[in-house]
Symmetry: C2
Subunit: 172 residues, 2 copies
């Protein structure tokens, strides 16, 4: 089964972590929480906390089969740290799946990874996506090669379904 | 003295509201808090709360001499609401001062107001500023015509000083 790295920092959107992670684990996949420091980080709604398993700066991106990036304020925190930007750039070279929901494209924009890609995201970042060369689509889930994206919490069922299907098609 | 509208929503960066507002009031200027709803909004550090005086949707931008946009998550919340984007677009037509700190350029990006302008902002939004055509400068305060911007909390003294000087030069 897949080894999924979750890039996460404080003030993440709670359900965009808890619901996909629960679904991935129930399907037998392994979750490793990746953060700036090995601390516990809390969701912005106060409904979830996550213990960081590995520091991104010490982490080899090649060992992951897929990366999940939940939204909230977490992606904006992560993209302010060069090691997080470099990690997702390095991971993207493998062409393995990246699952991005809500504000997650912010990290991909700073990493300059969305130019020419079909992508969606939270309503507030639409102009940023377009300015970065992304082909914004107002849909519950958008798939472009290895990149699967959704707009926010109400899209989670469709997001999970698309991610699980993508994970089923990986050759481990 | 100046009538200053402060565009603000929940999870603002506390000191980026409290310190400029205190300085502006001590200099004799009037502060009117503008928000999406007439509620009380809290800072992300839990150190300040702000009662919204006027709903942006009902507000005539021409009555303000200047607009202050504190940072934190507030600008991202505001730019998800069309009335906030339209308000700052309308206000900018008057060429009156806009004071933007930290994440505030996010609202200006969605309003498509920074193309070709010298501007600074929080480290996480540098790529968004550049993609929007802004001429990003890594300085404590950047002035380009009516637009005064700073990077974050540590720049507040320089930000306040530049804003007060600009307010002194307005003909009321």
């Amino acid at each position: 089964m897949a080894k999924i790295g979750v890039m996460i920092d404080k003030m993440f959107e709670d359900v965009e972590y808890t619901q996909p992670v629960k679904a991935f684990q129930e399907a037998g996949h392994e979750i490793i929480n990746l953060g700036i420091r090995k601390i516990e980080v809390n969701g912005k709604k106060g409904k979830a906390s996550v213990q960081i398993d590995e520091k991104i700066a010490d982490c080899d991106s090649s060992k992951f089969d897929a990366i999940l990036i939940p939204g909230g304020c977490s992606p904006d925190n992560l993209r302010g740290e060069p090691e997080a930007v470099e990690f997702i750039q390095k991971f993207s070279e493998t062409n393995r799946p990246i699952f991005a929901i809500c504000h997650a494209p912010q990290l991909l924009i700073t990493a300059q990874l969305i130019d020419g890609r079909k992508i969606t995201g939270w309503k507030s970042i639409v102009q940023d996506i377009k300015n970065a060369g992304g082909k914004y689509q107002d849909q519950e889930v958008v798939e472009d090669g290895n990149l699967i994206s959704s707009r926010g919490p109400s899209d989670i069922p469709a997001f999970i379904s698309a991610c699980l299907k993508k994970l089923d098609n990986i050759n481990y």
